[in-house]
């Protein structure tokens, strides 16, 4: 379990994450939704210690992320940033191998090789394994980064807008993959999504943020409603049931 206690971050006088307290489960798919600037990325960055907090604390299975040795945290929790990109010329394979760093300190064990191969397979990257990442398309590169956090094989996987740049084939493929990771491997996937319908179809729980605070939190049935979504996004939605899923329409 990840316990977030009154986490706060302010830039100058604007508080962008305001005393957020949450408990993230140790398995399942949890989606974070909310309008641009709501504080989703800031929250996820603090939870993953990439960004320091102004107040509050985060603990992952009892490990204080801000004070525990970073390499211990790296075995429990991995993060894929929204704007994760580099211009270093390394291959997909090399990138994914970096995911094993917390486990092997750079010396790949047979177990590491297996994890890397599996991650490449999962993300449909076997053919691209030897390609330098700067030569890939945006979506291919995104998948390479996802494969890297998969190879890291942590219980908690945090992803900030992982569907960025993906076509619907790969977006749906990735959501199915994340669902499978949660179901088959018992991982806890926490991801920021802008497409509320992906959140609705694939999540066990949806957390909606607005102005730095959590405004709705619950299973899709309680968050994907015309009323709740309207409050979060300040816009009109109509919610329909389609093949048993709750689908929100907001196109006109």
């Amino acid at each position: 379990m990840i316990t977030i206690d009154s986490l706060t971050k302010a830039y100058d006088t604007t508080t962008v994450v305001d005393h957020v307290s949450l408990q993230l489960p140790d398995a399942g798919v949890t989606s974070l939704i909310g309008p641009n600037g709501a504080g989703k990325s800031t929250l996820l960055s603090m939870v993953s210690r990439i960004l320091g907090a102004d107040a509050g604390s985060v603990s992952v299975e009892g490990l204080d992320v801000f004070h525990a040795p970073s390499k211990d945290v790296a075995k429990k929790l991995s993060i894929l940033r929204q704007d994760a990109h580099t211009t270093a010329r390394i291959t997909v394979q090399e990138l994914v191998e970096f995911g094993r760093y917390p486990h092997s300190r750079g010396r790949l064990t047979p177990e590491c090789r297996a994890a890397v191969a599996e991650a490449l397979q999962y993300c449909d990257l076997v053919e691209l394994a030897d390609r330098p990442i700067h030569q890939l398309s945006g979506g291919q590169r995104q998948r390479a980064y996802v494969a890297m956090v998969l190879a890291q094989d942590t219980r908690y996987v945090l992803l900030d807008e992982p569907l960025n740049n993906l076509d619907m084939v790969h977006a749906t493929g990735l959501m199915q993959l994340l669902r499978r990771l949660a179901d088959e491997k018992g991982k806890s996937i926490v991801l920021v999504l802008h497409d509320v319908n992906y959140a609705s179809v694939y999540s066990d729980r949806i957390i909606a943020m607005r102005h730095g605070a959590v405004v709705h939190d619950g299973p899709p049935e309680t968050v994907i409603t015309e009323h709740a979504l309207g409050e979060v996004y300040d816009m009109e939605f109509s919610v329909h049931t389609l093949n048993g899923d709750r689908i929100a329409a907001y196109f006109r």
């Binding site: 390499k71 790296a74 075995k75 993060i79 580099t86 211009t87 010329r89 300190r105 956090v149 890291q152």
Partner: protein, 328 residues
């Protein structure tokens, strides 16, 4: 295409090693006092020349060339800019300034003490450069090395000022211009320290690669970004300090060699570091041989030849701006 690249990657260090070996043999047997291979056994004088001058010179070239190339490789990676190297980040000028400070204030200091002071100056000078470029967001990557060169110019100007007053301008210019002609046994051994540090860089190569991928990337996999940064810059500063103190700076070596190698083999430091080191040694060996042959029986200092070659490559790079890190 993909397999081709990995074949090149696998073959590169061996090809480079073979080149170094051949060039080293040429380097040993070329020169004013001809060394006859058979005479080494029969003639004590030949053996003397061989052991006291030829061999040390060749070792010195290999150590300095490889260590400087590795220093450049680490610096360009950590700064995330292909134009950053000891000679374009103020590192060399800061090391020389440190050396000048000891020479003026404590002339009797032992060589290791001098190196230590030069290293501290080089590190501080480079850290100032890094802090500067991190603070200012440049639109164009070529501004980064230009800032470094200007900063280096400031360090050099401060040095000139004091050197002039203490009659040390001649000595200053010796530090700034690498020359292996004075190398004999007992005068180059400090370079083994630079070589050792380069080996240490190989051990921590994955660390530097991770740090070069960005702070967030490094943090996620549990690499301490600040520590990796500090460690990498210390290695670069120490190598620079040792080389400047022992044989004098070899301008732009740390810039051109890593660029040639990473252009071919990519940016995974662990994979490219050995080839970079070997190619650095090979380049200095070639330049040294050329310097000894063209105006025989006189010599052109290696620093002049590498510097000329390096500044031409540097200019070409700037004009092409084919910098991958640029479009970040």
């Amino acid at each position: 295409m993909a397999p081709q690249r990995s074949t090149v990657a696998a073959a590169a260090p061996w090809v480079a090693a073979a080149a170094v070996l051949i060039l080293a043999i040429v380097s040993i047997f070329i020169g004013v006092a001809d060394v006859d291979f058979r005479a080494l056994w029969s003639d004590p004088e030949s053996r003397q020349i061989f052991l006291q001058s030829r061999l040390p010179r060749t070792f010195a070239i290999i150590l300095a060339g490889s260590a400087l190339a590795v220093a450049g490789l680490i610096m360009q990676h950590l700064a995330r800019n292909r134009f950053v190297a000891p000679s374009t980040a103020g590192t060399v000028d800061a090391a020389a300034l440190g050396l000048l400070a000891v020479t003026i204030l404590a002339p009797g200091t032992a060589i290791m003490g001098k190196i230590a002071i030069a290293c501290v100056f080089a590190l501080a000078g480079t850290a100032l450069f890094i802090a500067l470029i991190q603070r200012v967001q440049f639109k164009d990557v070529v501004y980064v090395p230009l800032i470094g060169i200007v900063l280096g110019g400031v360090y050099a100007a401060i040095g000139e000022f004091f050197a002039y007053r203490t009659n040390l301008t001649q000595t200053m210019s010796v530090w700034m211009n690498g020359d292996f002609s004075g190398i004999i046994q007992g005068r180059y051994e400090t370079l083994w320290l630079a070589g050792g540090v380069a080996v240490l860089a190989y051990v921590f190569a994955n660390w530097f690669t991770a740090a070069g991928m960005g702070r967030d990337f490094a943090t996620n996999i549990g690499v301490n970004f600040r520590l990796a940064m500090a460690g990498g810059l210390t290695i670069a500063a120490l190598v620079t300090a040792v080389v400047v103190t022992t044989v004098g700076a070899i301008p732009f070596l740390g810039l051109i060699v890593p660029n040639i190698v990473t252009m071919m083999l990519g940016d995974n430091l662990r994979r490219v570091l050995p080839t970079t080191a070997l190619l650095g040694a090979a380049l200095v060996l070639v330049c040294d041989i050329v310097g000894r042959v063209v105006i025989f029986p006189y010599e052109i200092a290696v620093g002049v030849i590498v510097g000329t070659l390096g500044s031409a490559v540097f200019l070409a790079m700037i004009l092409r701006r084919s910098n991958r890190y640029a479009n970040a």
